[in-house]
Amino acid sequence: MFEINDKTNAPARDHGTDILVRLQARFGALESHRQRQDLLRIEVGQDQLLPVLSWLKGDTPYVQLTHLTAVDWIEEDRFELIYLVTAPALFMTLMISISIDRVSATAESVFNLWLQAETYEQEINEMFGIDFPGSPRQGVPFILEGWDDMPPMRRDFDTVEYCKRTHPERPGRDHTDPRTYVGKKFGEKGYLT
């Protein structure tokens, strides 16, 4: 009833250059970096994102969205969105990256291309405050129900300050900060003299 496939030899993995050439012929010069034999990083403009991803999904074997995440480059005043698009038949993954303005923080949704993007976009919306207009679950809490502070994965969110504010120490409680404890026990230098 069931078939067990034998191990087969994987095809030659030189598809990165091919797809880059095709992408550049269609969308102009693109910055790229070959991270590994099976992983090619490509930077595209924000307005090129949907055309590039639509073309990849529709006209090439890069049919699967493996991953979507954001990086906060606060010192450069931008967010980076990284889309991992995989061609299962070629054993090759493209890391498509775009930069978006940190203040307006809006990007186009790819939900219409891949259904599971709604969850990724929902999480990024909650954790980074990036909007994806048209994505079905924008503004709906994913993990942080009842959260009323700034999106916590932003670099300027101070976790220590947040904890001190929301979980203040009870009065009369012994201080358990290791530095204070060690100081009390071993003297100011922090070790036995």
Partner: protein, 391 residues
């Protein structure tokens, strides 16, 4: 827009207020977060008509501990006790992926000794074996049959004994580290592990009788919980749910890592894409894992270092870069998106677990029409793992 408003706009009757018209035939039920049939700390809100689910929504958030944020504030070496907790049942995949991603970005991956790579492969396969044993028993246990999970959990505990001997911990190991592993195999470890493998081999025919020749299990699993093949690429399904569709994809073979290219193993597939097929794929994978572990014990070198010379971990910096590394966990493709910025801390890490799609996108779309009694079995067969969704 609040969650309630949003769900109402989609047509759901969420927490209906007095005066709101509600279909009198409909019952709203929270399945979890505290329910023996739920897989971990999550819940599924379902709307029932009789015992048939009309629609449902997955709710997560009970287990969020902010691991990714924590790792941004820690030195690289301090992240190991964090990542293993991303998946309780199978922590070693996380340890390997953290180590591998940072080794790749720092250029240390070329220095990992041969023996360390073999030991890592051994640990990864032992981890897959014990997790698959647990899930195979769980598939039947959710249907009210307790004997099979008792057996498989016992066998899993024998594997955990080996983990305890090797790493000092039964569940969380923190054994894989940058440049290799923390310690060498103890003397006689291979012999004792072989004893466990023999026990598993001996018990498997009985498990076949108990599970796959069991008429109750067959009736409740064949043709139930069928995941359409079209969803494979559309939703990005991986692991046993994908292979149960008959699609032979496996990260170990397709994106070779560690010593898997030097090992002979089959990618097990099934037919029908139902609960039975997924259980059967896992049953075959247990045999394959046992075979792979035996090959590793036979082929691995007994001499040589088990770790590279490491830089000072308190001052170690990694150049700016980004990568994505993947490995085949028992549930499917597990991946780490890692970004570094030249400092002594991780800039951004995002964990891609197979449950991210399986427990939300796939499960929610499969719920309409499912019988409430099959919900637990469906979730276990998709192997949904909430900690890796929330992190």
């Amino acid at each position: 827009m609040s969650r309630t408003e949003h769900l109402k706009s989609l047509g759901y009757d969420v927490m209906p207020n007095a005066g709101t018209e509600v279909d009198p035939r409909e019952v709203q039920l929270w399945f979890g977060p505290q329910h023996p049939g739920i897989t971990g700390n999550m819940s599924v809100q379902v709307w029932l008509e009789g015992d048939t689910i009309k629609r449902g929504i997955t709710h997560v958030g009970y287990l969020h501990r902010g691991f990714e944020k924590l790792m941004e504030r820690r030195k690289f070496i301090q992240s190991f006790p964090v990542v293993c907790r991303i998946c309780v049942a199978e922590p070693d995949t996380n340890e390997y992926l953290l180590a591998q991603s940072l080794e790749e970005l720092s250029g240390m991956d070329k220095d990992v000794p041969e023996k360390a790579q073999w030991i890592r492969t051994l640990v990864m396969e032992m981890s897959r074996l014990q997790a698959t044993l647990m899930v195979l028993g769980g598939s039947v246990g959710t249907m009210g049959m307790g004997t099979a999970p008792n057996w498989t959990y016992t066998l899993r505990d024998f594997v955990l004994d080996s983990f305890e001997e090797l790493t000092g911990g039964r569940v969380y190991h923190m054994y894989t580290t940058y440049g290799g592993v923390r310690r060498d195999l103890p003397t006689g470890f291979a012999l004792r592990l072989e004893e466990t493998l023999k026990k598993i081999d001996e018990r498997l025919p009985y498990l076949d009788d108990l599970i796959f020749h069991n008429e109750v299990f067959r009736m409740r699993s064949i043709g139930v919980g069928v995941v359409p093949v079209e969803w494979a690429d559309e939703i990005g399904i991986t692991g046993p749910p994908l292979r149960a569709m008959g699609i032979a994809r496996d990260v170990r073979r397709d994106y070779p890592y560690l010593k898997y290219p030097e090992l002979d193993f089959k990618v097990c597939t099934g037919e029908g894409s139902d609960i039975y097929a997924r259980a059967w794929v896992r049953r075959q994978e247990i045999s394959e894992s046992v075979s792979i572990i035996r090959q590793i014990l036979e082929k691995m070198p007994h001499e040589g270092p088990y770790s590279a010379k490491l830089p000072n971990m308190l001052t170690w910096t990694i150049p700016r870069g980004s990568t994505y590394v993947r490995a085949e966990a028992s549930r499917g493709e597990m991946g780490y998106m890692m970004v570094t910025d030249g400092s002594d801390k991780i800039r951004r890490v995002h964990v891609r677990g197979p449950s991210y799609t399986n427990a939300i996108t796939v499960l929610e779309r499969m719920l309409p029409g499912t019988n409430i009694a099959d919900l637990s079995a469906l979730m276990v067969s998709l192997q949904t793992c909430p900690p890796e969704i929330e992190r």
